[in-house]
C-alpha cells in the first residue's frame, strides 16, 4: 500500500465484485446450455448443471436430424438474406432521398418514419393476416420477408439517413459536374462511403429477422417453410424431457449469432442502441 493511487483503488474491488456477479447472471445460463448439449440423458440425470464429465457429441447430429435443421436453417438463411438485402435497398434509397434529393415535406416524412418504426403489431396484425391469406402469401417465405421489409425499413432509413447526413457532399458534387447521373452518384460515390451504415443496418435487421418469432409463428405453419425460431419451439415442446437434445438444437440457433456478435460487437451495440427494436 502507500501512494495516493493505491489508497484510492481498494474501493473499486467491491465494484468489480458486483460487476462479476452480474456477469455470472448473464453468462451462467448460456454456459449450462453449452454443458448440457454435451451430456447424454444418463449423465444429465446424475449431473444436471455441472460441466460434462464425459463429453458426448451425439446430441448434435441427433438434434440436427430430428429438428429438420437442414430445411429450417435454409429457410432462416433465405428469410434473413432476403430481409437484409431488401431493407438495405429500400432504406438506402429512402435515406438517400431524405438526405440528398431535397425531398419536399422531408420533415413530415421523417416524423412518420419515427411513428412507423414504433407502430405496434396489434394495430395491423389481424387485417394483415387475412389480407395475406387472401393473397396466398401466408406459408410463403416471400410473404414473411415483405413483412420484415415493412417493419424494419423505417428504423433502418433513420439510421442510414444519419450516416448520410454526416458525409460531405463535395465528392458527389464533383461526380455530378463530371456528368454522373443520380444513380451513378449513388452507386459509385455514396455507397462506397456509407458502407459502415449499411453494415450496421444489415446486422440489426439480419439479427431481428433470424430471431423473429411472432410474425413467423403467425404466418408460417408449413413445417417445410418454418424458420428455425418457430421450428425450434415445436422441437422444444416435443422433446422437452430431453434437455441434452434441446440444448444442442438451441446452440444451432444461437452460435452463429454469438460468433458474429463477438466479431462485430461495436457495430451491433451501436445499431441496436440507436434503434427502437424491441428484442
Amino acid at each position: 500500500m502507500g501512494g495516493r493511487r493505491t489508497s484510492r483503488e481498494p474501493s473499486k474491488v467491491s465494484y468489480y465484485a458486483v460487476l462479476v456477479a452480474l456477469s455470472f447472471f448473464a453468462l451462467t445460463p448460456l454456459v449450462v446450455l453449452g454443458f448440457n448439449a454435451l451430456k447424454t440423458s444418463a449423465e444429465l440425470g446424475r449431473n444436471p448443471l455441472g460441466p460434462p464429465l464425459s463429453p458426448d457429441f451425439s446430441n448434435f447430429p441427433k438434434a440436427w436430424e430430428l429438428g429438420n435443421f437442414t430445411v429450417t436453417m435454409r429457410n432462416s438463411a433465405i428469410i434473413t438474406a432476403g430481409t437484409v438485402i431488401g431493407v438495405c435497398i429500400i432504406a438506402g434509397m429512402a435515406a438517400y432521398a431524405l438526405s440528398r434529393l431535397d425531398l419536399p415535406g422531408g420533415n413530415g416524412v421523417l416524423f412518420s418514419l419515427f411513428v412507423g418504426s414504433a407502430v405496434p403489431f396489434q394495430l395491423f396484425l389481424v387485417p394483415l393476416f387475412f389480407l395475406w391469406s387472401r393473397l396466398q402469401l401466408t406459408n410463403t417465405l416471400i410473404g414473411i420477408i415483405i413483412i420484415y421489409w415493412a417493419i424494419y425499413s423505417p428504423f433502418a432509413t433513420l439510421l442510414l439517413r444519419s450516416y448520410l447526413v454526416a458525409l460531405p457532399r463535395d465528392f458527389e458534387d464533383a461526380a455530378r459536374i463530371d456528368g454522373a447521373n443520380e444513380f451513378q452518384v449513388l452507386t459509385r460515390v455514396v455507397l462506397p462511403l456509407a458502407w459502415p451504415g449499411f453494415l450496421t443496418v444489415a446486422l440489426v435487421s439480419g439479427l431481428a429477422a433470424w430471431n423473429e418469432f411472432f410474425f413467423a409463428v403467425t404466418f408460417i405453419q408449413d413445417d417445410n417453410l418454418k424458420p428455425i425460431a418457430t421450428s425450434f419451439l415445436s422441437f422444444q415442446s416435443q422433446f422437452s424431457r430431453d434437455w441434452g437434445l434441446t440444448s444442442a438444437a438451441g446452440l444451432f440457433m444461437i452460435l452463429p449469432v454469438i460468433v458474429l456478435f463477438l466479431i462485430l460487437q461495436r457495430r451491433f451495440i451501436e445499431g441496436l442502441a440507436s434503434g427502437g427494436l424491441k428484442g
Binding site: K12, L30, P48
Partner: protein, 320 residues
C-alpha cells in the same frame, strides 16, 4: 458515428441542416421538378411496403373494430358493440391488470440493475469493454432459445431448485415456476428480463459516458459521496435516456407478447394472460377478428396517448 441517442426527439433540428431553403420557395425549374420526382421515386419502395403491410391494415383495423367478423367472409357492422364488450369483460380487465404488473416489474428491476451496473462500469476503466459485451450477449439470444434455457433451469425436477436442495438449500425444491398461478407471471417476467437488463445497462452506460467529467470532479471537491455523485450528477446527466427508457418500458409492457406466448400461452388458468395474448386468442382461436381488432386498436390507442401526453408535457416545458 456515435450511437444516436434515443431521446424521442422530433427530428426538426437535424433535418433543417440538410435542406436547402433557398431552393424550396424559389421558382421551380424543370431541373428541380425532376429532382423532386426523383426524390419521391427513391421513397417509393418504402412507401409501398409500408402502406401494404402497416398503414392499409391499420386503417382496416379501425373499420373491423366496429364489425362482427370471423376473419373470413363478410364483416357485419355492429357499431360500438366490440368496445362495449371489451369494457365490460372481466377477462379484459384481468389481462390489463397483468400488463400493469408487468409495467411495475419492468420499471423497477431492469432499470435498477441497469443503473447500478452502468454506474459501476462507468467508474472503472479496466475490462469495461469486456463487461459491456458480456452483459449484452443475452440481448442477441433468440427469445425461443432463452425461454427454453430457463424452462430447463427452472424445472421443478431437474433445475436449479433440486440442485440447491442437494447442497442443503431446499427452498426452491419442487417449485413449479411456470405452473404455479402466483409465480407464473413474475417467472415469465424474470426470463424476459434476463435478456433485457443488459441492453438497458448499455443504453445507460452510453449516456453516462457523455456526462461532463468536471461535474464529478466538482462534486468530489465538495466532498460528495459516491451515492451523492450518482444521485446529483449521474441521474440528472442521463435524464433524457432514463425518461426514454421508462416511456418505452411502459409502452412495450402494454404490448408485451413473445415470452408469455412462448412460455405459458397465458396460462395456467389465465394467470399470465395479457391483452396481446388475449387478442391473439380472439383472432386466431375464437375467430372473433372484429373483437380482436377492437382490442388491438384500444391498446395501440392507449400507448399512442401516453407518447402524446409525454410530448405535450415536454413541450409545455416540463423537465422530462
Amino acid at each position: 458515428m456515435p450511437a444516436e441517442q434515443p431521446e424521442l426527439k422530433v427530428p426538426e433540428e437535424r433535418a433543417a441542416s440538410t435542406e436547402r431553403p433557398s431552393r424550396k420557395r424559389a421558382g421551380r425549374t424543370p431541373r428541380q421538378r425532376r429532382r423532386t420526382i426523383m426524390a419521391w421515386a427513391f421513397m417509393l419502395p418504402l412507401v409501398i411496403v409500408n402502406v401494404i403491410v402497416i398503414v392499409g391494415p391499420a386503417i382496416a383495423t379501425v373499420y373491423y373494430s366496429f364489425t362482427e367478423w370471423s376473419g373470413i367472409g363478410p364483416a357485419e357492422f355492429v357499431g360500438l358493440q366490440n368496445y362495449r364488450q371489451m369494457l365490460t369483460s372481466g377477462e379484459f380487465y384481468g389481462a390489463l391488470l397483468h400488463n400493469v404488473i408487468w409495467i411495475a416489474i419492468f420499471l423497477t428491476v431492469p432499470i435498477a440493475m441497469g443503473l447500478l451496473g452502468a454506474f459501476l462500469l462507468s467508474q472503472i476503466t479496466r475490462f469495461q469493454m469486456l463487461f459491456r459485451v458480456v452483459y449484452f450477449i443475452p440481448f442477441v439470444i433468440a427469445s425461443v432459445v432463452n425461454a427454453s434455457i430457463w424452462e430447463n433451469l427452472l424445472d421443478p425436477e431437474r433445475g436449479i431448485g433440486p440442485a440447491l436442495a442437494s447442497i442443503g438449500l431446499p427452498y426452491l425444491d419442487g417449485v413449479a415456476f411456470f405452473g404455479d398461478q402466483r409465480l407464473a407471471l413474475p417467472s415469465v417476467a424474470f426470463v424476459d428480463n434476463w435478456h433485457w437488463w443488459g441492453f438497458v445497462l448499455v443504453l445507460f452506460l452510453t449516456a453516462m459516458q457523455s456526462v461532463d467529467r468536471d461535474l464529478y470532479d466538482a462534486a468530489k471537491v465538495d466532498g460528495a459521496s459516491r451515492w451523492h455523485q450518482f444521485r446529483h450528477v449521474t441521474i440528472p446527466g442521463i435524464r433524457p435516456t432514463l425518461v426514454f427508457v421508462m416511456l418505452m418500458t411502459i409502452i412495450w409492457s402494454l404490448l408485451v407478447f413473445d415470452y408469455i406466448y412462448i412460455l405459458t400461452q397465458g396460462g395456467p388458468a389465465g394467470a399470465t394472460e395479457v391483452v396481446a395474448t388475449l387478442m391473439y386468442k380472439e383472432a386466431f382461436a375464437r375467430f372473433e377478428a372484429g373483437y380482436a381488432a377492437a382490442l388491438g386498436l384500444g391498446m395501440s390507442f392507449v400507448s399512442g396517448l401516453i407518447v402524446l401526453v409525454f410530448l405535450y408535457l415536454r413541450r409545455r416545458g416540463w423537465e422530462i
